[in-house]
Amino acid sequence: MLEQYIGATVMFIMAIGIACGMVFMTSVLGPKRHFAEKMEPFECGEKQIVSPHQRFSVKFYLVAVLFVLFDIEAVFFFPWAILFKKLGMFGFVEMLFFIIILGVGLCYVWIKGGLDWE
């Protein structure tokens, strides 16, 4: 039973190997010049010592939330994708309602400006 997971585990190990490898290689091979700016922790291009309140921007959060919600929606598609042949018309209508409802959600968010970055 577990053999089926061999493929998944191999792929998993390969991914971790490459990631660690890259980090290891850069630290080993890369030139090491230590000066002030470089030592600072990287914060997506934002300056560090700034009062939290001012630089608080919500677009990060909005993107993340929409990612979560539409991810769930995508997950609903997996079983449907496999079974929709067997479910026939009923399955199709069922999923149609699902998509319509979440479609409304999408246009709402889109027009409301939740998606645009600035």
Partner: protein
């Protein structure tokens, strides 16, 4: 043989769970939560609920924890300056009493469950946890929950945008 896998996995999950509530910096607790969820995915696999194991990784570890990390970054929460553990003096009695009561109750329940005659489960047909079987039940028996779930997601979407959008026209 499976017990050999079950015990370390369970131990790992419990450890990671404790890590969530013990570690002082929220980032550490978030990371240990992700680890715990991975562990749980393993437990689901052990139960041959493969579809749900994958779901656990995609939905929980993948999406929800990402959201948590975003928010932690957003709110720029450094390691908690206050002491993580704090029981306010006023209700020390209440908490101690509750602790004892809870322990007593849990002990009784635990020993009842342990010698309950829940014998080991019968061998489960190999298509038990697969996507096909779960999908069929989902789309035939539980059509209404499926549709209501979409309403729920829509409501959550609207709510999130209403509350979080910074400039409301």
């Amino acid at each position: 043989m499976e017990l050999l896998i079950f015990y370390p996995l369970a131990g790992f999950c419990v450890l990671m769970g404790l890590g969530v509530i013990i570690s002082s910096s929220p980032i550490n607790s978030a990371l240990s939560l992700i680890a715990m969820m991975m562990g749980l995915a393993g437990v689901f696999v052990l139960q041959q609920a493969h579809f749900l194991a994958i779901l656990q990784i995609i939905v929980y570890a993948g999406a929800i924890m990402v959201l948590f990390m975003f928010v932690i970054m957003l709110l720029n929460l450094k390691s908690a300056e206050e002491d993580t553990w704090s029981i306010r003096p006023q209700n020390t009695y209440v908490s101690v009493l509750t602790g004892f009561l809870a322990l007593g109750a849990l002990y009784k329940i635990a020993c009842v469950i342990s010698q309950a005659k829940l014998d080991s489960p019968a061998a489960v047909p190999d298509d038990f946890g697969t996507v096909v079987r779960v999908g069929t039940t989902l789309f035939t028996d539980f059509v209404l929950p499926f549709e209501v779930a979409s309403i729920l997601l829509l409501a959550a979407m609207v709510g999130a945008v209403v509350l979080a959008k910074n400039k409301i026209d």
